[in-house]
Homo-oligomer: 282 residues x 2
DNA sequence: TCAAAAGTGTTGGACCTACACCCATGT
DNA sequence: ACATGGGTGTAGGTCCAACACTTTTGA
């Protein structure tokens, strides 16, 4: 580390904010349908002007990453005080068309229904988009003491008539005992390499739901067990049996004395997160 | 994103390379003792001249993070082609005494005994240090709908007569449903914030051993099940029962026709990693 | 009355824990 | 012969999936 002049890139953060929200209710008896959504902004400036992208910003000179993410979300979306977790730093030299920019992505989770987003600084529009992920191709080639595996994933993001499609290829390679993973964007309606970031974040979230208590960050303070189950179901992408689910999460929640009323059926007890439950963090 | 002049920090990578290595054998019958170790270099230049630190380097202008880590390890330590995984990016504005430097840390894992390290560029010395972690204090304060938890961790790194001690405090805070984690160095014999990076890496590795196949990256191509068990035991920091361990990892390995000989006891079969086993990745 | 969801109980099987025991080797 | 590790079997308990069933509400 001599007193040389080293290369200095620009540094940004990008935030991938997820939520699970109620959509239309067709029947006074039925529970509202839930959708897994991500927050996108329509870019007001170059590059990628008028493209939808993850909310991001340059990191200020005296600002930590966390401060930059919080500022970004407040300035651009009017969101404050949400759960945030650093995910990954993207350092590919060619990821920004202008010049080299490295970006650290953060995942944010917000409680379903009481947040009001508002387009802010450098933002033309801001919206929640429904997320659909599909594996459209999987190939595996075995080699001597290893393998080469590719998986093509299609991401469809929808908000009313707006449909954004992206296709990403994840390559996992085992070369003399060492696993190498890299991702490639085949096609994307999103700005920059945001399709990659999104796929990474979704995989991580889905994965962590299984062995941590991260899903509670998507819930309001008090919630019914059925709503919690719906959140798990939408993230794990499979139906769960009620009795079994309740036994599984029994230690993670505490019942309150309150009930949810005015549904067309038996009122359900409201629960809270049990802060004494010892969760995994990673 | 206007055409403004944005702040540009220097960017580095730091590598935390772990291994589990055999140390002295006292008895021709007994298996060698294993030690969990990390690779450190003694800095040749300022700042922190003559301090031990994690091997790191500035990221070149046309270089990805992975390329920088590989170059760093080859230049400084003569290590090539090892398993690497990005862990975390450290962006605290004050983490480098000279000027703002952000650093992305990578964890590296190498097979126990057939690697030969060699001090290289900007390195005075290079050594494997035994790792001992101890939780020396744990406090929890409950608050309305949340808590405040601190954990003090002592890290002792040893190589012959050299003993490096560090003390780190991890704070976990639950504030209106959102978990915030931050770490603070109370005292450290290591350069920069490397004590933090090390604690983070150790926790992540220990955690991943439980639900992924990451430990196999610490093994040679062919190994005995007892040696694999020893690696698990040292990382999980608890003894395991042989019969149960073997049933647990049965699907992850394939037996070969080879045997380990010349021990003072019954020869053990050599196994390989089963590349068809579907592991978790995160 | 009844559709919808709330909430609980049961049963068989899979898996995990702890322990016991026998086998093969080099000196 | 024997210390040492290699290797396997089993009994008991826990956990989990699948299913069945009862309860409570608002219109």
């Amino acid at each position: 580390m001599k007193k040389e002049v080293f290369f200095r890139p620009s540094v940004t953060i990008d935030s991938i904010v997820f939520t699970v929200r109620d959509v239309n209710v067709d029947n006074y008896r039925k529970l509202p349908e839930k959708k897994f959504q991500v927050l996108l902004v329509k870019r007001a400036g170059e590059p990628y002007k008028d493209k939808w992208s993850l909310p991001g910003t340059f990191v200020g000179e005296k600002e930590s990453f966390e401060e930059a993410v919080n500022r970004c979300l407040e300035e651009k979306a009017n969101i404050k005080d949400i759960y945030l977790e650093q995910l990954y730093s993207w350092g590919n030299p060619l990821r920004d068309p202008r010049e080299r920019v490295i970006s650290t992505s953060y995942m944010g989770l917000v409680d379903s229904n009481n947040i009001q987003i508002k387009a802010g600084k450098n933002v033309e529009e801001i919206e929640w988009f429904n997320i659909k992920l599909k594996t459209i191709q999987e190939k595996r080639t075995d080699r001597k003491d290893g393998y080469y595996k590719t998986e093509q994933i299609e991401i469809i993001l929808e908000n009313k008539e707006i449909v954004l499609k992206s296709k990403v290829e994840v390559v996992k390679e085992l070369v003399n005992g060492n696993l190498i993973i890299y991702t490639q964007i085949l096609q994307s309606d999103l700005a920059f390499d945001h399709a990659k970031m999104l796929v990474y974040a979704i995989e991580r979230l889905k994965n962590k739901v299984e062995y941590t208590t991260i899903a509670f960050h998507l819930m309001p303070e008090k919630f019914t067990l059925t709503k919690l189950q719906q959140v798990y179901e939408i993230l794990l992408d499979k139906p769960l049996l009620k009795a079994n689910f309740r036994r599984k999460i029994a230690d993670m929640v505490i019942e309150t004395e309150e009930y949810e009323e005015n549904a067309g059926h038996r009122p359900s007890k409201l629960y809270q997160f049990n802060t004494h439950f010892q969760p995994h963090v990673f």
